[in-house]
Symmetry: D2
Subunit: 400 residues, 4 copies
């Protein structure tokens, strides 16, 4: 049965956003995902903009009650807490450097949290928030929005079923060329903070781009753990240093597989999106988000196969997230809708202490967010150590 | 400025659906388009299913008040007319044979109408409804859902600007292979009526598929009129006769250009979607919906160009419908959202007697619906006359 | 066993060319094909150019003895007949209007003939030459050079084996845009005669381009016979009339299948080459010469397959023509080599009265040439009759 | 003026092969390249096979005089030296481990040499042979056969003209999956020696595959020098150790650019061939050998361009190597023909002491061969040092 908007939970969650206002491109993706069916979320409040007036005007324009358009998140959390119909969950779509404090405040206010990537600057912060969420009985979801494409679940299923044999090589790529020069660094608010270490954290493209792809690789191959990696990063636009606008990573996995990741915002002229190839001893799987409804399956010595979205021969886990049916092109909007629906199902299950549901639900949770932070930490550590091999650390903060 | 969900009209229309329930694949596309931003439409009522009980359960599941889930459209129109907050517009997503009566009833009930294609069985019905809508001061929109892809507007702009010179050849294709055998004819409710002339009308794939592509061609080249055409249609699955499952059309345009269209549901194994190529004396434009964010522009003797969605070099009319931004794959959901937003803007303008807005708004209106009917009529007339050339008739019913 | 140049016949034929000199693009393709391995042909004489001096200089430059570079074909046939080591076979790469007389003279001189397409102006001429060749015990081969790609044999084998079921639709295309305007009509010797009916015959692109594609379709589906066709042709560059620079053909086959062919030299910006798609009741096959080592095989309801050149899973008849092996891109040169090798094998068999070999050899013979003429005749007859349906005539001249 | 087989040198060289017999796939490529036009080389002798009888039979079958089919190269060099019409140049298509001794013997016998890659095991051997060739006044060409594709010269020209700005990133790939398991290691003579260090030398895929791609990168960007590199190599089929069947290389160039190379014979199911992408500060160039007549040119912020073979807008240096013309697919055969023609021109110039011609001729010479050896040496040194960064050494042997 395809998804068609019928409710999966008893009633939609009362939802608010921090950030994501008129000047934010990603804010609209959150709303598109959350409100796809109006059966999972209802947008009732927001602190949409650092400019309170602009934020209010924007909120009203998208249908939020004027009185629930707040000047800042603190006011929002405080005032909403006083309402009987107050918000239950908040999405955070602000620059990286503010994620930690807003996330913490939201959990302490008793809210579920959905947060942009990269989650925080350090894994210590991540562990602290994870522990806090656990104490509060709340979900923290991370918007790796691209990861909702169901063909990734098809890859996961086929790998688990042994369709490609033992994994040997992993090719990951997420690059574009929009920062090939520094024009936008100076003129675009959205770009300015991304190259400012105080706001962006210890990385530019490793955090902004590759955390998506790294999460996708974990989603596809949950059994694969990195043993060591080597990261070579560059700042081709010099003013961005120490933040990188291009990075290469080599990986060694615990099972003996190897891999590469390329992330870049200076891959001039490239409009590429995500490219993923998993090579096994028997066959390979390859996916590219621009033709995201196709999956190439290559078995050595046999004709190459192209698997296509919505077809009955796909795994049930893949088709469970189908919305439009064959011939009808899905895109990023549908992927975000899938992610947000799973957030809602997770929050509902959490509220009902339904650990069985939670255990079986594949979605970007706090651990996926933490893994993203650790990914960046390990990459930066290697890069700053002369681009040498480092053991991949899964360290936990003391308080956990 | 990209679309981000901020309201384009004062408040969302109160909207209902006839049909489009649990077993309908297209119903979800209507809701996805209409409710994308919750600032254009609000779904408040419905007669979603021929099985009233199933329809009510479904309506409740997608958030409609139980009391406004009606057993049939007549009851809905009657009861909603008694409410102060009654519906203002209805979408019709039922089998073809019912469009005319529901459309008529809706207009007579004072509602705007959005209707599935092909609109009706005959152009006489079309002219009658057009006249009725005019008298009632209402909009009739037609859901050529694919046509909302903004790269079609880019093609329109480039052609108008003379970028390809005089149009010489038009290649149109919309084919798939899902009816390569008759299995679904017997088992699928959605397919069964499509091959029954009493419900589907005088054609199968000409109406079901090619009306989309024909409309797209008009959208791209509004100045091009067909002078004569020849249609050769087949029923490869014999039980479908006289309805065709494959058809070829040759066209002669008034300016001397020629063209071809292929539509089929027996193009075995094809998962293709729409393919459009317009050849001019200087250059050509080509678009394929599976990579719908790309447009190939070929000037003889120069390197081939690929134009990509959301880039600043595109025409303003194209970028005005942009929602996700570069690198972020749009799909059919976004196209439907564009179409439905334009329906809302048209209805709002109509309500305000804002003819200026209406004049400049490019969307599939009643004339586009009528043209689709005429397209089928002309094709069927040619096919039934031994697949010979016929003058393209733009006849009007007497009452107009 | 792949082809590697080892001889297939006792010794190479002594070979000459008429035409194909310095200004001819196709002449080099003949030599590339014939001389690939130096075990099938040896170029020993030629009347390469209408300008005798230039022809001699050219001949010497490609290694032909100065004394065997003749001013014209008549002299060549006469003088070579006096030599003990005289030529045994001649290739004709001159404008269409001269094929008949040269071909006739060559056969009468006791030579095997290899001739450019389209063979002659009329099927009467074709039947006459066929009868003459039969009397003389000689081969007449026709250089549909593209048709030597072995993936076409793979298609033939798969269709014969029932892999796509009953054939329903045939899509043929061979178009380019190099004649989008009339510039070359005036300046290029090669183009000038092609648009002159006295030299080119009754068609431009139908003969120049579509005879290739039509032959390929016969090669792939030898059992398919056209029952009737309709041809709609245009002269977009008016000075070319009555010769067409664009043509559409619709076909009805005797088994109930239908088909289309598009040929054009005004498909502006198109660099496309041959495109062939054969749709059956179970599956489809699709091939495009630019990626001529790949064959798409689509079975409805199954993943799409891409078959790749040189792989063991291909049919023996396909791999028998393999030269370079997997990963190593073959192109048009290899296709011409395959065709010419088969000409040599046919001539050798003919000389030895080995009818068994001749019967099993798939190559473009006199009948393929005749079929090309008939194809043009039927198309032109339909086009000149108001683009109406005409029965496909396989008429034979009286003398046969 | 396109190439059409007219002679570029006074007379063809008398040519022989060592190896390349019936069981050799590459031998046929040599002959296809050398003998394309019969105006550059004439095959007159050979020691084609380690099995002398089979070699003789083979030689006769491809047209070599029985008396000049020799049992081994030593005999051939000795006996041919006694003939007035003895060989002038020899091609070596034997397993890697024999290149050095045969090359040396050939030069000492006064022959020009054309040799398979990788040239020798060590750069010391390379320097020795280079010095020997210099003393003897002979050419040593290396058959990086793929590098003759003229679109690589187009890339070279565009980069030199500043069309992509400063080079920042270099992506090189040459992978396949034919050795995904060890089946062929045991059964195929051609594969067996490739995984035997005594015959293959210090590497498998680095030498067998990546030397091609590395040379192509030098051809495209002659000004780019590697400063340091890091190589991570694996033997996924354990029995191949220490020889790698997969390798990743990271590169730092002297101008600050970075790069990656991937070579593999265990990229399961991959039928890919060469992929090259050069990213500059203004634009990027991308080429893939399977569609080797196309070149993607991407300038940030502009429509993507695809440049197509044989078009007048290409650089003269590119079109100078054109043979078939637009629409007519070239392949590997044409590339080998280009390479071999340049060998002939170089040898002819060398014989005439025409240093001007030699200076301007771009072809894989002894230095290109030496660079390939050094590439392997540096990669292996890094890999064997724990996959760490090593300075790229361009060391010269003492004797030079």
């Amino acid at each position: 049965m395809m998804l068609n908007g019928e409710k999966k939970i008893a009633r939609p969650f009362r939802w608010a956003m921090v950030g994501g206002g008129r000047l934010s491109q990603v804010g609209y993706k959150h709303r598109t995902g959350a409100l796809r069916d109006n059966t999972a979320f209802k947008l009732v409040a927001g602190a949409f903009d650092i400019d309170a007036e602009r934020g209010k005007e924007f909120g009203v324009n998208i249908g939020v009650d004027e009185n629930r358009c707040y000047p800042d998140y603190k006011t929002m959390f405080a005032e909403e807490a006083n309402r009987e119909d107050g918000i239950e969950v908040v999405s955070i779509a602000t620059p990286n450097g503010t994620h930690y404090e807003i996330c913490k405040a939201a959990l302490e206010a008793g809210l579920h949290v959905i947060c942009e990537k990269p989650l925080f600057f350090t894994s210590e912060e991540g562990e602290e928030i994870k522990a806090l969420a656990a104490r509060k009985g709340k979900i923290v979801g991370v918007t790796y929005g691209f990861s909702g494409n169901q063909m990734l679940l098809q890859m996961r299923a086929m790998i688990e079923q042994g369709k490609i044999g033992d994994i040997r090589m992993v090719e990951l790529q997420y690059t574009h060329g929009f920062s090939a020069n520094d024009a936008a660094d100076k003129t675009s608010a959205a770009q300015k903070w991304r190259v400012d270490p105080k706001v962006a954290g210890p990385s530019f493209v490793l955090g902004d781009l590759s955390t998506h792809t790294y999460y996708m690789s974990q989603l596809i191959m949950p059994q694969m753990k990195i043993k060591k990696l080597l990261c070579d990063r560059q700042s081709f636009v010099g003013s961005r240093a120490p933040l990188e606008d291009n990075a290469y990573v080599l990986m060694h996995y615990e099972n003996g597989a190897v891999g590469r990741l390329w992330t870049s915002s200076v891959n001039t002229g490239c409009m590429d999106g995500h490219r993923i190839r998993i090579v096994g001893s028997k066959g390979s799987l390859e996916w590219w988000d621009n033709l995201g409804g196709e999956l190439k399956y290559e078995v050595q010595g046999e004709p190459t196969q192209t698997l296509i979205r919505a077809m009955p021969y796909l795994d049930d886990s893949c088709n469970a997230d189908e919305r439009l049916g064959a011939l009808h092109v899905e895109g990023l909007s549908d992927s975000w809708a899938n992610i947000y629906l799973k957030f809602a199902i997770a929050m509902d299950a959490k509220n009902r202490n339904d650990e069985e549901t939670l255990k079986n639900l594949v979605y970007p949770d706090i651990d996926a967010g933490l893994d993203g932070i650790r990914w960046i930490e390990n990459c930066v550590r290697s890069a700053d150590n002369g681009s040498t091999w480092v053991e991949f650390e899964y360290k936990k903060a003391a308080l956990v």
